[in-house]
Amino acid sequence: MMPPSELPVPRFSLAERDRRWSTVRAKMAAEGVDALVCVYHTGHHNHWQGDLQYLSQIGGNNVDASLVFPLDGEPTGFPINPFYEGPAARDWMSDFRPTRRAWGDMIGERLLELKLERGTIAITGLRDHLRAPEGIVPSGTLDRIRELLPQAKIVNGTWICQEARMMKSAEEVVFLDKSIELIERSVDAMYRTARPGVRESEVYAWMLWEQVANGGDMPTLLSWLSGPWGRVSQRLLQATTRVLEKDDMIFNEIESRYGGYCAQQVQPMCVGQAPKDVIEMFNWQGEAFEAVREIMKPGTTFDELLEAAKIVGKKSDVYESSLTLHGRGLGEDWPLLMGRYSPEVGRMQLQERQTFIMKPTVRKKDAEFRGEGIVWGDTIEVTRAGGRRLGRRPRAFLQLDDV
């Protein structure tokens, strides 16, 4: 068999492993946790296995896996079959045990081996997960762990890795930069292929081609709204085979996964010339974007970001603006700011090396539908000088002169 070291896949260094493990273990120690358990769940574009990939490098395109990560001792990875853990994981770990999908049994046995019969076991994703407040841990797996360790104290471990994952290392930022490079290839592909008479699915397919051909992983989020301005479709998670017409709009959220790391951009396009009011809204949106970006520095609160994004509504009688912002990284990185959020989150301060997708929306004050708004967004790293755009393309509303 070809050794995994020969396979050219994205890999993190041992120093990065040690940094993560020690940060997470410090948090575990502070919480009195003896072992952290990550349970398989490749749902939601694989985002819900983010903690597992963070600690083990196991992952990629629906690779179901679990992990026991003790406070002391060797972590153990649980792929379904021998060698299903992916090529990078063996750079970091040596203990892999195939489960044949009996996850709870295998996790429980390892916890017993660690003599944690009466230990405190934190399970990540038990509840309060981003976009999954009821949790993501399969009921039967939890039942089996409880059966095998009836005297152990099982606690929610969702927050243990989240805090560490919010602050990106230099290596993580490099992976996010690579993700952005793939996204910008996707944008180029959209601009190159979206023409009247072309099926939307073909445009979508070429956008993903760029990512996969150049080392991106799957599945990845690439959402899609399209159609004539004023009659844009509902948001879909994949383009249909509808044929594009002149002056159609394409709105999107474009992510790519590189070694699991996802940045995001939002890049609107008109298959022709955009109407005057669209360009007017786009210009307003730029003002909101810059107002937020400028203050994305350590010490600024999330409330202040949300307030800054409202700038358009304060200056215009016709339009208003609001902010959607959430962490980017291995998946659902904390926090998620859209609609409701708790006052505590609003008062939290940004810190250096946090990365977010920042995407203010501008819409008419009487608009009802998402497709009536204009969004442009990029992934931003928090620096002392303000937000650094990871994207390299100039901000623009893409249009075509030649149709």
């Binding site: 068999m1 995994p4 396979l7 990629g60 051909a213 992983d217 497709g371």
Partner: protein
């Protein structure tokens, strides 16, 4: 219960006249499914079937929900409350997510804001009120015994919420309720599967056109995915990949790397395409250069196993007979052994799962049903040296087959064979 929707009503009136070409099933198909599932529920004494979100494993683990509602595709989280009598309810996180097809089937669609157990619980209380009793038997699909997830797929927190809201209800495993209705495909389902197989063959053609020495494997893989999406299939889809010099093939990956291919390399794979969720499969080895003599010999034994398995893959035979046929095909070989992998194809992990000649996780009793007309499987006996248990040392060619009254019908149209790119 809120006022029921008009069938076909979309949330976004501006979007209605765009006539998105989104594949969907007929109302007759809906009624067929709903009545088959309700029969199973009645037999099992289940008052209401519940499915909650899990888009893991290439969306396969949400397939019962999609089967009953048409909600799903590309990691769209969804849930369903499906009472024995009365109006089923489909759930999505918000009204952007239940998609274009579901409103043509369901008159009740609700949003959860990610709080699935709460939303499901609220609807269950309405069902209980309608029934005049709150000691309902609630079957939760995915509680345990899911194919490839024998410990289940339903989040614990969601189950707990349902228990909290319905404390007098009896919660039982409902995984088996849709299992057998889904096992036998309707004509409409077979048409969707045929479309999936047709797209798979375009993917194989894309692989053949682009796999050459000096090309990155990821480029070949990307071309296959491009062909699939452009033709209307959806992601995520399973396209597994083993590659490298023959005799030194890599581990199984679920996406190709940027490794540059060399003469003498082989690509082995499992190629799926999802068309409105329906997934066929083919396995198609490709050699860069002429096929080595030992691979040719192995392929001969493997095709004997395919033929033998297909021979008995007809109504009335047991799955054990299919397993035995594939295994016995190589009895005369001292060097090579054949063994059967075979599983249902359809909306995801359709019953049964046979791996290494036995029932795979979550399958239960393999002899509970025989091979039946209009069941659809991928039949993929593998062959490998008797002294090896490494998958990469073996060889598999496979196609999706429909069981007809007269025997197994290959759904693929390509000639069976190893591809050699010289």
């Amino acid at each position: 219960m809120a006022q029921l929707r008009e069938l076909g009503h979309q949330e976004y009136p501006q979007a209605n006249d765009l006539s998105y070409p989104y594949p969907r099933f007929s109302l007759a198909e809906r009624d067929r499914r709903w009545s088959a599932v309700r029969e199973e529920m009645a037999t099992a004494g289940i008052d209401v079937l519940v499915g909650s979100n899990n888009t893991g494993h290439w969306d396969h683990w949400q397939s019962d929900i999609r089967y009953l509602t048409q909600i799903g595709g590309h990691c769209v989280d969804a849930a369903v409350v499906f009472p024995l009598e009365g109006e089923p309810t489909g759930f999505a996180i918000n009204d952007l997510y239940w998609g274009i097809a579901a409103p043509f089937w369901l008159r009740e669609l609700r949003t959860t804001g990610w709080r699935w157990g709460e939303a499901i619980g609220k609807r269950l209380r309405e069902v209980a009120a309608d029934a005049g009793r709150d000691d309902l038997t609630i079957g939760i699909t995915g509680l345990t015994g899911v194919l490839r997830a024998p410990e289940g797929t339903v989040p614990w927190g969601t189950v707990e919420k349902i228990r909290e809201v319905m404390p007098r209800a009896r919660i039982v495993n409902g995984t088996d309720v849709c299992r057998y209705p889904r096992y036998i495909k309707s004509q409409e389902e077979i048409e969707f599967l045929q479309k999936s197989v047709d797209i798979i063959e375009k993917m194989v053609a894309a692989m053949r056109e682009t796999a050459h020495p000096g090309v990155k494997e990821s480029v070949v893989y990307a071309n296959m995915i491009q062909a699939m999406i452009a033709d209307g299939a959806e992601i995520p889809t399973m396209l597994s990949w083993l590659s490298g010099p023959w005799g030194r093939v890599s581990r199984r990956l679920t996406i190709a790397t940027e490794r540059v291919m060399e003469p003498g390399d082989v690509i082995m794979n499992e190629v799926e395409a999802r068309y409105a969720g329906y997934t066929g499969q083919q396995d198609q080895p490709l050699f860069l250069g002429s096929v080595p003599s030992d691979a040719q010999e192995m392929f001969k034994w493997q095709m004997d196993a395919v033929d033998a398995a297909m021979e008995v893959c007809s109504p009335g035979h047991t799955f054990q007979e299919v397993i035995d046929a594939a295994r016995n095909a190589s009895r005369a070989s001292e060097k090579y052994a054949t063994g059967l992998t075979m599983h249902g194809r359809g909306l995801g992990d359709d019953w049964p799962l046979i791996v290494a000649g036995g029932a795979g996780g979550g399958t239960g009793n393999l002899l509970e049903r025989t091979v039946e007309e209009n069941a659809v499987f991928v039949v993929k006996p593998s062959v490998r040296p008797r002294n090896s248990d490494y998958r990469g040392d073996g060889l598999t060619w496979a196609d999706t087959v429909q069981v007809t009254a007269t025997g197994a019908r290959r759904m693929g149209k390509r000639t069976a064979g190893l591809i050699s790119v010289v």
